[in-house]
């Protein structure tokens, strides 16, 4: 950019498309995906990722069908999570298949450890201390995670390393074109932390608005200071829930889970679901 063009007179307009977002993602990157289980998952962005050539991703997620779909399309090399579930359907079939065939490495953490890892990355800290994990196989299967002795009295705690993300993908109810974003449902989950822990964060939303006229200002939990792109994707979390805009589409989720058992059925489902 030339020196003369640096006199910026208006706020950045960060609107883009799902394909623009995917173009920022390359092989081997670490991607954080917001939401929780089968709740407010950025499925439109995940589907765009499934349509791309990107591979060998490390995915950090409180896992649901986002993880399952990426597994089904062979996108994940390594998953960092505490679980993968679809809530009303406890077990995620594609994740199970991927694990049982040895296709996906699973860095299994306690749920709280995952939050601490994002928090450490967001705060540029070398680790966050916790008791979670002590004595469990979450530690023995992750030899890279160390314990540390407290300088205040000698208690041994787990030192959760930062989970630094290359890219974060989250889906919110509303956003403006500058990248401020709002949730209107019961729980933000950890979507703000994913954005803060990432080099680049992309927000999809049900609707881009000029001003935030719904909910209280307390629900404006993602600031444009942390976001790099905004995509308007109506029904962008479907079939996961995006309350209050819509609840989980249980019938569609059931079709997704059932189709996993049969290659032909799965192809038919995936062609229709992932194509758009």
């Amino acid at each position: 950019m030339s020196a003369t063009s640096s006199a910026k007179t208006s706020l950045s307009d960060k609107r883009c498309t799902t394909d623009d977002v995917v173009a920022q993602i390359s092989d081997g990157m670490t991607i954080g995906i917001g939401g929780w289980g089968s709740r407010r998952k950025p499925m439109a962005l995940v589907k765009a990722l499934c349509r791309s050539d990107v591979k060998d991703l490390t995915v950090v997620s409180y896992g649901g069908p986002d993880v399952g779909l990426l597994c089904a399309f062979g996108k994940i090399k390594k998953l960092i999570s505490g679980f993968v579930t679809m809530d009303s359907i406890p077990l995620e079939p594609h994740f199970r298949t991927a694990r049982q065939s040895g296709a996906v490495e699973f860095m299994e953490l306690d749920e709280g450890m995952l939050q601490w890892g994002l928090y450490a990355a967001a705060n540029r800290l070398p680790f966050m201390p916790t008791k979670a994990g002590l004595g469990s196989d979450v530690l023995s299967t992750n030899p890279s995670i160390k314990t540390v002795t407290s300088p205040y009295g000698g208690e041994e705690v787990v030192a959760v390393p930062p989970l630094k993300l290359d890219v974060a993908l989250v889906h919110m109810n509303r956003a403006d074109k500058h990248g401020n974003a709002q949730y209107l449902g019961p729980d933000l989950y950890f979507d703000d932390l994913y954005c803060m822990a990432a080099d680049e964060a992309f927000v999809s939303c049900e609707r881009i608005v000029d001003t935030f006229d719904e909910g209280s200002f307390h629900t404006l939990r993602i600031s444009r200071m942390y976001t790099d792109g905004v995509v308007e994707t109506p029904l962008g979390a479907h079939f996961t829930s995006c309350a209050p805009d819509y609840e989980r589409d249980e019938a569609a989720q059931t079709r997704y889970a059932k189709a996993a058992a049969d290659p032909d059925e799965w192809k038919a489902f995936a062609d229709e679901y992932v194509a758009r």
């Binding site: 077990l91 709280g112 008791k131 979670a132 002590l134 004595g135 196989d137 979450v138």
Partner: protein, 227 residues
């Protein structure tokens, strides 16, 4: 009124919460939530329960506080919580597996993942609910330690099954009580490690409790979980 096996299990879950005070109870499955609501309606009025979607709901159905997942994480670290989880495997020390069967780097069967079990068990009371007590669940050695047992510093309180109630107060799992019609032999046959204990009967639900249970679970969904 007919008293079912499930009713005994509900009352056993209520009893596991005796003396809880003002803490959050997070019951998974069908029977433990009924037991927790029964406890709140009778002997444990101070316990806090959520709708599973970030709202603490009082006995009258009103929202009494906001508890999104990150507040639950903070709360569990404070110790003010008692969780009921459903093991895939559990050993004599109460080590619990929720992750996978077979080696972790290439499992034979992948299940859900450890969830919050490592943090729960190290921080606050954890009870386990097993609707079908078999030697596939009660094993000599778990394939993955998700929740830590008492030998690893875990705060495992009780294990409640369709056969009886178990505790770990002596350092290993012992029978605390048997449900009516269950024998010690039946428990031993369905447990993959040596087990002993009291042949005391699980406390019978009172008429008042049975009435409340029927009101809390009018469609008898508990019968689908415990036959």
């Amino acid at each position: 009124m007919n008293t079912s096996r499930a009713d005994y299990c509900v009352v056993a879950c209520k009893e596991a919460l005796a003396g809880s005070g003002e803490i959050l109870v997070s019951p998974f499955g069908v029977v433990p939530p009924i037991g927790a609501r029964l406890a709140r309606a009778t002997s444990e009025p101070d316990i806090v329960l959520t709708d599973g979607e970030a709202r603490a709901i009082d006995a009258d159905g009103n929202v009494e506080s906001w508890l999104p997942f990150r507040y639950i994480f903070d709360l569990l670290s404070s110790g003010k919580r008692h969780v009921f989880m459903m093991p895939v495997q559990i050993d004599r020390f109460g080590n619990m597996n929720l992750s996978c069967i077979g080696p972790h780097d290439h499992p034979k069967v992948q299940v859900i993942g450890s969830r919050g079990a490592p943090g729960n068990t190290i921080n606050h009371a954890t009870s386990y609910w097993v609707p079908r007590h078999t030697s596939r669940t009660f094993v000599e050695r778990v394939d993955f330690v998700s929740g830590v047992g008492v030998d690893r510093g875990g705060l495992v309180h009780q294990v409640i099954t369709n056969l009886g109630v178990f505790d770990l107060e002596g350092g290993t799992m012992r029978v605390k009580s048997l449900h009516p019609g269950v024998t010690m032999d039946e428990v031993r046959e369905n447990t993959g490690f040596t087990i002993d204990g009291d042949e005391a009967p699980t406390r019978e639900p009172t008429p008042e409790e049975l009435e409340l249970i029927a009101r809390l679970d009018p469609n008898d969904s508990r019968a689908n979980e415990v036959s």
